[in-house]
């Protein structure tokens, strides 16, 4: 049974890898052929880091079931750490950027542990308020520190973020978080969302897994921050305020708490939408907000609920559909 499972999964790995590579080639070809203009090509980068932010927030909000409101705080820690690192060293771009992203991610993860340990003793509204406070504290500290450039912002960060690096980061994030969720560690995280008392009684060290999920979530927010810093080449503390945390949360809730696919889809749509609505000028935010209200009224669990898209499953279904139809079509032919 195990070998069959392995065979099936390795086929699915190959399938997913091919699809990921295929999508990348298509995107690159579209950019090269100027089907996507320079502006549209640049839009792919915010889509990418919004996906990372949403997917990582979903780990703690959707899978762990604890709602933090300070995701932008971890993003800013990662952004500044990554930027300061790449400004301090002088390496080839394709070495420097990934290293900077790792530095940003790790720094944010350390902050995740430090904040998570005390904050996760509380739940629900209380946790939301604590993390909200943390986000603001980080922002104010950055605003007043010398080496972060204070209110002037941090200038002169290399513009190193490319579509390729964003794409790789998104893939890594999705891979790590989805395999994490399907391991025993991920099931432990899910069990806490479902019933913390029963989880503890089933032998799950709940505090450890809460802090773990929170930390991984913070770490990937830091990676997204690093991409953001090297995309804008200037960092300004005011761009990591509460509104950004709220924006990420909106993406996650709209896509579906507990659906990675939903987060990816919602991050893509909600990043493009405001740009598409530019034509409506002052009504832009009204339309955007109305859309959120409508979705929450008609589909309160988010667009995807807890649905996960799997290429392998879709293919299985498709082939079953084909097999189901073929004999029906052949049957009359035999009769003749």
């Amino acid at each position: 049974m195990a070998t069959r499972l392995l065979k099936k999964t390795s086929f699915r790995y190959a399938l997913n890898a091919t699809a990921a590579a295929g999508l990348y080639i298509v995107l690159m070809a579209l950019i090269d052929a100027k089907v996507l203009n320079r502006y549209q090509a640049l839009m792919l980068i915010p889509i990418g880091f919004n996906i990372i932010l949403a997917v990582s927030l979903n780990l703690s909000a959707g899978f762990l079931g604890q709602l933090p409101l300070g995701h932008a705080g971890f993003m800013s820690v990662g952004a500044y750490a990554a930027a300061l690192f790449s400004m301090a060293v002088n390496l080839p771009t394709n070495v420097e950027l990934p290293l900077a992203l790792v530095v940003g991610g790790l720094t944010a993860a350390v902050f995740g542990v430090v904040i998570g340990l005390p904050a996760l003793r509380l739940r629900g509204d209380y946790l939301a308020i604590i993390t909200l406070g943390f986000g603001e504290i980080i922002r104010v500290i950055i605003l007043n520190l010398k080496f972060t450039g204070g209110a002037y912002g941090l200038k002169g960060i290399g513009r190193q973020t490319t579509v390729t690096w964003v794409y790789i980061s998104v893939l890594v994030t999705l891979f790590v978080i989805s395999t994490l969720i399907k391991s025993r560690h991920g099931r432990a995280i899910l069990s806490i969302r479902e019933d913390e008392i029963a989880a503890e009684a089933s032998g799950i060290p709940t505090t450890y897994y809460k802090v773990l999920a929170f930390t991984v979530s913070a770490g990937f927010a830091g990676v997204a921050g690093g991409l953001y810093a090297h995309y804008l080449s200037i960092l300004d503390p005011s761009s990591f305020g509460f509104m950004r945390s709220a924006e990420i949360l909106v993406i996650v809730v709209l896509g579906g708490l507990g659906s990675l696919f939903g987060s990816v889809a919602a991050a893509t749509v909600l990043t493009i939408l405001p740009e598409l609505l530019r034509g409506f000028a002052e009504y832009r935010m009204v339309i955007y907000s109305l859309l959120l209200v409508v979705v929450m009224i008609f589909k309160p669990s988010g667009l995807c609920g807890r649905y996960e898209f799997s290429l392998g499953d879709a293919l299985d279904k498709f082939s079953m559909l084909m097999r189901g139809r073929l004999p029906q079509k052949q049957a009359p032919a035999k009769g003749k």
Binding site: L180, R187, A199
Partner: protein, 260 residues
């Protein structure tokens, strides 16, 4: 060592909630494969005993030894790993997860692969996951639930949810199983079925069972020994027959007869 060393040895256990003595001077020795009943009127402190044994509440006094080892001060999940598993009065399943996942979560500590091995899906991940899945399906088969394995736990009928809770508790490989009102909400035929299940569980899994129950047919039918609690104190203990005729027990349940 003494051959009759109890698997669970509780001495002088007690807890106060503010000024209220919820439980005092609670002593019990449970042997391996014994089925012990814990009964008493509402509010007598029965569930409190379970919460103390699993350290959901910290006892104010007394000691708990599981196979000779002190479990006081250990956290709930450590006690579960040591061998005390429980079910809950109001069913607590991982509702939106599948039945097999409910059991696999309880198998968490039987697997050892690390976070990195899990995320990178190294061979240890595949081996241990396959073993855990097989074991959980076997466990579900004991409870006639193998065909429900992939359904979400909340979609199960009530009786099946109770059985799943027991299956999940057994997945932690306990030495002592605590059942909190397993027959609550069941009709007589379901209760009779449950009695057979509890017997089976004891025989197949080699566990001692302590159960809280209000259904006297079940308690009298399967318990080898019964403890009666009232106002946080043990007022009687003995075989079902002794308990049935004990005037103190009758008084606790029905009140004193007037004029006597």
């Amino acid at each position: 060592m003494n051959p009759v060393t109890p698997i669970l040895d509780v001495s002088n256990l007690g807890i106060n909630f503010g000024g209220l003595q919820a439980l005092d001077d609670f002593n019990i020795q449970v042997q391996n494969r014994e089925i012990v009943g814990l009964i008493g009127p509402n509010g007598a402190g029965k569930t409190t005993v379970f919460n103390l044994l699993t350290n959901v509440y910290q006892p104010s006094r007394g000691g708990i030894r599981l196979t000779g080892e002190n479990t006081l001060g250990k956290s709930t999940h450590e006690i579960t790993q040591h061998g005390i598993a429980r079910t809950f009065q109001n069913i607590r399943l991982f509702k939106s997860l599948s039945v097999v996942d409910n059991v696999r979560i309880a198998l968490h500590n039987s697997m050892t692969y690390s976070l990195l091995e899990g995320c990178l899906r190294l061979p240890s991940y595949w081996k241990q996951e396959a073993a855990a899945t097989e074991l959980s399906r076997k466990l579900l088969a004991v409870f006639d639930m193998e065909d429900m394995a992939d359904a979400p736990a909340q979609s199960l009928p009530y009786g099946a949810q109770r059985r799943l809770e027991i299956a999940r508790a057994l997945a932690t490989n306990p030495k002592v199983l605590l059942l909190d009102e397993p027959a609550a909400g069941m009709n007589p035929s379901e209760t009779a079925e449950l009695m057979r299940t509890i017997h089976d569980v004891r025989d197949k899994f080699d566990v001692a069972i302590i159960l809280i129950e209000h259904d006297m047919s079940l308690v009298m039918g399967i318990c080898e020994r019964i403890l009666v609690l009232n106002y946080g104190l043990i007022i009687a203990q003995g075989t079902p027959d002794e308990i049935r005729n004990n005037p103190l027990v009758i008084e606790a349940y029905l009140g004193q007869q007037r004029g006597e």
